[in-house]
Symmetry: C2
Subunit: 412 residues, 2 copies
């Protein structure tokens, strides 16, 4: 006979890496767990650029959240959008209802930022959602079709010029993949244009691509990008853009396709918590990932700002999700929470076919071995995705044949 | 030294089964061939219901037309929408340009018909395009989510009631697959609702489902549908429908999801040809598939109406496409055209897991063997699709686990 306390209700906002791994870590907790997400699936975001570049299908990298926790009896899923958090009443407001919590994990992530130019969003789509990826795919494929039909030489060149703003991992991956599409995949598809004459231009504001990586790997990445035919511009700021051109300093590039891979800003939900935010709109949290004065509220992933900076990557969000879950279990048992320490397992960025860079502590690798490491790590983390084997097969097929099977222009 | 005639220009409108097989049959023709389609891909329509029911991905059943003819040097592809045909000037008008032809094959197919109720289209989507399929998938998955959140019992039941109008092959396939989703796939996904309590109702105006099949197979199909939990209503006409209910005669069914699988009408392009049309809007053609008084214009597939009726199925369109191509080659050589004769290779309709009906002449089969025949035929005709092996693997996986991997709510 135990004098049981009432079972606590743990609410997790967001089914991304942070939220999902927090929920999984609470599998055996004596608690009711509720995951709230506005989408019904978890997205394996590191491979989203593969959807944008027609190599993978949405369902290869997205998996219903309900399926992930189907056998986790203590866990419930609500499809809904959190619009505000009332930390005093311990309530999350959804569009059309409210959810009360005893403990809360906020993991709603970040979206792209156009800095002081929100009007650029229409012209230069970013890459955060499945819809973003399909829109980018649509625009890229339509650009080649339009070039094939265009008779004016200058207009044709503008359709065959692709500008990617932002030289971080996403920008580098997109640039490499686009160059491969133009130079390999599309080779025989057109009669009037030569797709391999397409220009792919990567624009980075800092003095090197992958600015968060060690400088020697940035150099290697730039060399690999150039080998794939990408034009890399560093120390270059976009000053204006519209549907026909991008202005970089004094230079005007005629282009019909601009993709945005620069800047992130925290989910607007952060502003409703009423806690101090950093410049990127992220919530400043204690070392144990809790909100100041609210030990029952945890903020993790891209939404959290710690005193010791943590990179905005999936492994960090996963570690924080698991740590928040463990701390909640400690609180339930009446123990003290523990501070979070990020364990850097290394950085990996892929550039293209057998091209990548990797930093594992002091060990820096580039080229085929880095690419193979990238592949192994991503396949390993697709665990839980029923289609891991299918994704591997599609990759193998694409690797051997240079084909990209999902070259469909859909939507609108 | 040959006194060559100028190379004729053969224009094919539509990259469906008819148009694509016509183009392939012209591979070695001494002609310029141009395929015009408003989509950049060929769609394997017999499996579209698998996308609508979350078993397959769009790119599993859609393949870029350019890739199909990439190595066919005499063939060009234009992404564009034909708006009118001027048979006197031998010109096809596109939205923003014109294409002149020497020979024309019109293969723009059919779309669904709401008879005298075009306003039903919004409430009851049909299944002709990839976008239709994704919209149906979205509505079905959202209905279960809404039921899970709904507290009012009647409202919950309406969300869990799915009505399919039309008992032809598409309606039967959709009904069977929906019932399987509710009773197997979703089994563990929800906490408040029991998905297997969902009602799937199939409504057919004639006195039996699959009315174009032999009566004994209609009976078998109905029995198999009932075994899967589908409620079959025959001799039943929908008299009105809105977002909350469907009226069938005097009976009102409360439902939030109505799918339309009844009636087809020919592509509106038929009306611009200036030739007599039948009641379904199809062009009345000569037995050699040409337009009366225009031996250089061929109409095939769902758009053509022959004196001896031909069913609106893929094998018929393929046979007509190849026949039109051969007739054009005969005309180019100065020979006479030959009349078209449809060879019926049999009819196959699948109902669900190991359930199907098949008629090969006098041989009627149902159950597992019919299903296996259906599987074999469809896999065989996916030839040319790079992902045939992947599709088989996905089917095998879905068969063993009852999972449907593409359960993503995307769009809008």
């Amino acid at each position: 006979m135990s004098d049981k306390r009432p079972t606590p209700h743990i609410v997790i906002l967001g089914g991304g890496f942070g939220g999902l791994y927090a929920a999984k870590a609470l599998k055996r907790a004596e608690a009711r767990v509720t995951i709230v997400d506005r989408r019904n699936f978890h997205l394996f975001q590191p491979l989203l650029y593969q959807v944008a570049t027609a190599a993978l299908n949405p369902s290869d990298i997205a998996y219903p959240i309900r399926s992930v926790v189907a056998r986790q009896e203590n866990t419930n899923v609500i499809l809904g959008e959190a619009t505000a958090i009332d930390v005093d009443r311990k309530i999350v407001k959804l569009t059309d209802s409210e959810v009360a919590y005893d403990y809360l994990i906020v993991a709603t992530g970040a979206t792209h930022s156009y800095f002081s130019h929100p009007e650029w969003a229409r012209t230069a789509p970013g890459l955060k959602t499945i819809e973003d990826a399909l829109e980018i795919r649509r625009r890229v494929l339509l650009a080649f079709e339009a070039a094939e039909r265009e008779t004016d030489r200058d207009a044709q060149l503008a359709w065959l010029t692709f500008v990617i703003v932002g030289g971080g991992p996403t920008g580098v991956e997109l640039a490499g993949a686009l160059s491969e599409i133009a130079r390999q995949t599309m080779l025989r598809d057109f009669r009037r244009i030569n797709p391999s004459s397409a220009r792919v231009i990567l624009i980075e504001g800092k003095d090197r691509v992958l600015p968060t990586y060690p400088p020697d790997l940035s150099q290697k990445a730039e060399a690999q990008l150039r080998a794939l035919g990408v034009e890399v511009m560093t120390n270059a700021m976009v000053t204006s853009l519209d549907e026909h051109s991008v202005k970089v300093g004094e230079m005007t590039i005629a282009t019909r396709t601009v993709l945005w891979a620069a800047g992130v800003q925290a989910s607007p939900l952060a502003r409703t918590i009423g806690a101090p935010l950093d410049r990127a709109g992220r919530v400043l949290v204690n070392d144990d990932l809790t909100l100041p004065n609210h030990p029952e509220v945890f903020v993790i992933g891209d939404l959290a700002s710690l005193k010791v900076p943590v990179p905005g990557v999936a492994p960090a969000a996963i570690q924080e999700g698991v740590h928040a879950a463990r701390n909640i279990e400690r609180l339930v048992r009446g123990e003290k929470t523990l501070p979070f320490h990020y364990r850097d397992k290394g950085s990996l960025a892929t550039i293209g076919r057998a091209a990548a860079v990797a930093a594992f502590g002091r060990l820096h690798v580039s080229g085929f071995f880095a690419w193979f490491a990238w592949l192994a790590v991503h396949i390993f983390f697709l665990i839980g995705f029923r289609n891991r084997v299918l994704v591997i097969l599609q990759w193998a097929w694409a690797y051997v044949t240079y084909q990209r099977g999902a070259r469909l222009i859909t939507g609108r």
